[in-house]
């Protein structure tokens, strides 16, 4: 279980997170919704170690993550599929996936996980020798997720996986999120597409200008008037 307490993060003088607290229980899908600049990406980036926190704590199964290096956090079982996919465009699909397992030494197990990722995303198997830059947006997103899974994470952080994808592809991505979760990976998802995110989420938090203003189950927030107004479009029937 991931437990964030009173986390403060600042960029220069700008407070990006003003003391947020949240929990991601094992085996669940938790989503963080909010407008641009609310601090969603900052939260994920702080968990991975890319961003340093000013104060607070991030406990992962009782172990403090703040101050740990990015590779240590990765080996502890936390991986991220970053915003904008960030696949290595001039490496092949297979090389991208192998890099996901960069810190692992257990060759036969890596091979097993490669098959697992190929089963989840058959398209990646077909294209394993293609350069990642030649894939479509949806395929690149699948690659970014597959690459993160190659470290065999217990917790997968997903930053805007639906960004810039066609509606049908977004459906695919969300059904894959469910599938990955069914196979035992805990997921912390941040999304602008609040409607989709709340539908898959067990738990949800609303982040506004660096503070958590609401929390509840996905269904509760989906029915909440304030959430409807701010994130789902007021006139939606």
């Amino acid at each position: 279980m991931l437990k964030i307490e009173n986390l403060h993060v600042a960029y220069g003088g700008i407070q990006a997170l003003r003391g947020i607290s949240l929990e991601v229980p094992d085996g669940k899908i938790v989503t963080l919704i909010g407008a641009n600049g609310a601090g969603k990406s900052t939260t994920l980036r702080t968990i991975t170690g890319l961003v340093k926190a000013a104060s607070g704590s991030i406990q992962w199964n009782g172990e403090e993550l703040l101050g740990k290096s990015i590779d240590r956090i990765n080996s502890a079982g936390i991986a991220m599929s970053p915003e904008g996919r960030r696949v290595f465009a001039d490496l092949t699909v297979l090389e991208n996936l192998k890099l996901g397992a960069y810190l692992r030494k257990d060759k036969p197990e890596i091979e097993k996980d490669l098959q697992w990722v190929y089963d989840l995303f058959p398209r990646l198997k077909e294209r394993s020798w293609q350069l990642a830059g030649t894939l479509s947006g949806g395929e690149q997103q699948m690659l970014a997720v597959g690459r993160a899974l190659m470290s065999r994470p217990k917790l997968l952080l997903m930053d805007e996986p639906s960004l810039g994808l066609a509606p049908l592809v977004v459906q695919d991505i969300f059904s894959i999120i469910r599938e990955i979760n069914r196979q035992g990976v805990t997921i912390l998802l941040i999304e602008q597409n609040a409607n989709m995110a709340l539908k898959v989420a067990d738990l949800a938090y609303v982040l506004e200008t660096g503070n958590i203003t609401l929390s509840g189950t996905g269904a509760e927030l989906l029915a909440n008037e304030k959430v409807k107004e701010a994130y789902l479009g007021k006139h939606r029937k």
């Binding site: 890319l50 990765n74 960030r86 290595f88 001039d90 890099l99 960069y102 690459r147």
Partner: protein, 292 residues
């Protein structure tokens, strides 16, 4: 043909020497987007160390020592002068590189007293004369291109097929995503400097064998020309640097061959300007997409 042949042989050899230096520029540029102005001076230091080491020590200790000292120097330059500036604007790192270049030259001035250090057949076997196709030349001239191609092949294998090579390619594209994979960026960058300095050291041993002395400014010209070769081939590209270096080496020597010896350096720099105007990305260069 008879008259031109020695120049071709020389040109290929000079090209090989440039290639060994040019790879250092292109590798570092590929990963840090930095023109490492100190690289030519690292090359000069390798020459100096060779002069000192080969006069004092037996060959089998002296040559590995040259490699080790040069590699260590490259590593230290990165750690001391570039790493603290990792998040600084690129211009600051470049200025730091220029500073390192002058620092090394002046340290060398202090050590040598400013006197060019004479090179007296440091590596006897490769300095011997041989006759090939009726042309008499030093053995090093023939060894250089072969050794260059061999080292480039090993390097390309390393980058294409090994895990650290894959990490280098990933880091060259996207620092942050590479870090998310658990790649230690600083180790990868250090490794890049180590490879670049190693090749420069090999280049220096081959290059200075053919020269009467090593002066503190001896790294300047070959360094600049290797840089031109890297730009000509497309900076960031290893095959580009190698091809560019061989073309420049050949052109220079052929120009000397037709009697315009004093024009040959000017040609190289005219080529640089022409390439930058006509095809700024060079022969094999990628489209410039600024790293964000």
């Amino acid at each position: 043909m008879r008259e031109i042949l020695p120049y071709i042989i020389n040109g290929i050899s000079v090209g090989g020497q440039y290639a060994l230096i040019a790879i250092g520029y292109t590798l570092v540029y590929g990963i840090l987007r930095l023109i490492n102005f100190a690289h030519g001076d690292v090359f000069m230091v390798a020459g100096l160390v060779m002069v000192y080491a080969t006069t004092a020590l037996p060959m089998y200790i002296a040559l590995p020592l040259v490699l080790a000292v040069t590699v260590l120097l490259g590593f230290l330059i990165e750690r001391v002068a570039y790493k603290p500036l990792r998040n600084a604007p690129r211009m600051s790192v470049m200025i730091s590189a220029i500073g390192v270049s002058y620092l090394i030259q002046n340290l060398a001035f202090y050590i040598t007293g400013g006197v060019p250090q004479p090179v007296s057949t440091p590596i006897p076997w490769i300095s011997n004369n041989v006759v090939v196709l009726g042309v008499s030349t030093k053995r090093v001239t023939l060894i250089t291109p072969v050794l260059t191609i061999l080292l480039v092949a090993v390097l390309v294998y390393l980058i294409k097929k090994t895990k650290i090579g894959m990490a280098m390619r990933a880091a060259a594209k996207d620092f942050e995503a590479a870090q998310l994979m658990g790649i230690k960026i600083n180790s990868v960058i250090s490794f890049t400097f180590v490879i670049g300095s190693f090749l420069a050291a090999v280049g220096a041993m081959l290059y200075f064998t053919n020269y009467p002395s090593v002066a503190i400014t001896s790294g300047g010209m070959p360094g600049l020309k290797a840089f031109v070769a890297a730009v000509f081939g497309g900076i960031g590209s290893i095959p580009g640097a190698v091809v560019g270096a061989f073309i420049i080496g050949l052109c220079e020597e052929l120009i000397k061959g037709i009697g315009y010896t004093t024009f040959s350096d000017a040609f190289t720099f005219a080529l640089l300007i022409a390439v930058l105007c006509v095809k700024p990305t060079g022969l094999f260069g990628e489209k410039v997409t600024d790293k964000v």
